[in-house]
Symmetry: C2
């Protein structure tokens, strides 16, 4: 019998989660049954949407169960396979993260090529956050060349890509907001025309200075005050892609809505919420275009990497506090990429 | 020299308008110049959007000027023409209402046939409110057969048509809210599947009783609390056509936005504000379909008629108070329709 570790949810957070809501547990790992794979994960994703699944309320995905492992995107190496589709040594992307070993149904795994891009890229720029940025900007907000685009949480995994895609697709001006001077500096490196720290002054004034002629598209990752000032700055026929509302995720009381929503009538604004899962049919187009941008160096990305499964809750809490620049990743064992494949390490101390 | 009367704006309302904001003034009426018509109006429209133009704030239409006549839709008879396009005796629709005689540029007038429908119909069911209902429901909210549709202010000019169009276009269920028992009773006559008085109990409970399985489309004429409960009742991929926000028109302080707007993400909702002027290209299609529904009796309409130009401010204030059922109309002189054409009455006492 093989043993592994996993992170379980032991209590539902009321408001902001704390380390006490999570537990590192040692569990037995069964052998794969028919059409199953046993995957030793190398990288795990922590994402803001996971906060919603920690509440016991009806939503688009069922809540996480108490005393069970959390779930989320992960990439790992197949160590045993009872499926003809995968063999040991393959790397796969799947949705049973937050644990060292995952028993994955073959139909729920997707092969990834770690010679083309590092394992973690499939959780970020080439994965869910990348597709979110691409479809949110181009499909949901219907960005056109010449638009002025504003992105909040622009130094995050999704926002940093949305802003770069806007630039590459011909936006007249790309503006980002973020939560620290270091993040703002990075946004300028990425080619944002203007960026501001949302703590650094009245939001309305900051946005007006960054986009004096108003905005056409707002890629909303935060909701709250930034949504309100974006609506005020919108030009006629402007569009909001509502991707996230991190300002509300830990709220105990309902968060006030934008007091200027009525102006959406006169300005003919469209606000549209979306989930990336509805846009899976765009994955091939996205991968082709994003792959080319990565190869040409037109798009760059960063990761904030936390080491070890035990630190995964801390990584998640840090994410909610905005401590990441770019994609927040939890790495288990060594880095895996085309240049430096991870050695096979069946006796890694974390495994058992 | 001919004289006529007009309603002028003498002060800008702070909050709810009062009679003191308006003045009936006797003015001289010039003869038409080249390409102009002199129109003796028979019916005037008062509409909620006019409230916005009484404020001196930038909007999609310029504010009304102080000490000048108000403007708005009107139908009247051409009494003098310096345009080859129109001759005396023609009836035209134009936008220089709130006065007995309008001097209209020919390009801004549209011929209407009062043998086909009464003059007032061109201000309602066959006019701007009709096109608003038609395009808001079918284009902006993209209503499909099988949708559950909720309409607020459903006994108003626009709402009563939107609900009937939804029924005729195959909605699974049409629900309306209104402000009195008499209005609710009329909605049932119109074929609404359910209707409720928004004063009559908690909105959330009323809407749930009327649409127990939720709603797909919300045609929003009021904003405020009803928008919030509609968002709560929305099924995935629901759509809101934001047409009006009468709850906010008289507000002095910003009106709180819906506290549940964040749920638009998980439910993938679309909220879209619109103005009917952007949808003028749909007029021919609209008139063909609406004309057929009127002839077949599938759509019926009502008017609340106020007599005399001097009562126009009162009609407008009554509209904001919800005193109308169906379209609020101000009639000047006798009724004009195909059955009983108004006699030519150049010496009507109101004229001079």
């Amino acid at each position: 019998m093989r043993y592994g570790y996993e992170i379980q949810l032991v209590s539902r957070p009321l408001g902001r989660p704390t380390a006490d809501n999570f537990r590192l547990a040692r569990v037995s790992v069964p052998d794969p049954g028919p059409d199953q794979l046993l995957v030793r994960n190398t990288v795990l994703s922590v994402d803001p949407y996971m906060r919603g699944r920690m509440d016991d309320i009806p939503s688009y995905t069922p809540p996480f169960a108490l005393d069970q492992p959390l779930e989320g995107g992960a990439v790992g190496e197949v160590v045993a396979s009872e499926s003809a589709l995968f063999k040991p040594g393959d790397f796969v992307l799947h949705q049973l993260g937050w644990r060292k070993f995952s028993l994955v149904t073959a139909a729920d795994a997707r092969l990834v090529d770690v010679a083309v891009a590092p394992d973690s890229a499939y959780l970020g720029v080439l994965g869910m956050p990348g597709l979110t940025a691409y479809t949110g900007l181009l499909d949901v907000a219907a960005m056109k060349p010449g638009d002025v685009v504003f992105v909040s949480a622009a130094a995050g995994a999704v926002g940093s890509l949305a802003g770069q895609i806007a630039r590459l697709r011909g936006a007249a001006r790309v503006v980002g907001s973020a939560g620290s001077a270091a993040k703002v500096a990075w946004l300028r490196e990425l080619g944002f025309d203007a960026a501001f720290d949302y703590h650094a002054g009245p939001l309305r004034r900051s946005l007006r200075a960054a986009a004096p002629d108003g905005i056409d598209v707002y890629f909303d990752n935060v909701g709250g005050d930034q949504l309100e000032v974006a609506i005020s700055a919108m030009r006629p026929h402007g569009r909001v892609a509502m991707c996230g509302a991190i300002a509300a995720y830990n709220a105990i009381q309902p968060v006030p809505g934008p007091r200027n929503l009525v102006s959406a009538i006169g300005k003919r604004l469209t606000l549209r919420g979306f989930l990336v899962n509805d846009h899976a049919s765009r994955r091939d187009t996205f991968l082709a275009e994003m792959g080319a941008w990565l190869r040409s160096g037109d798009i760059t990305y960063r990761e904030t990497v936390v080491d070890g499964l035990a630190a995964a809750p801390e990584a998640f809490l840090g994410l909610l506090n905005g401590e990441n620049i770019g994609k927040m990743i939890v790495r288990l064992g060594g880095r895996v990429d085309g240049r430096a494949p991870a050695p096979e390490s069946p006796h890694h101390p974390e495994d058992a």
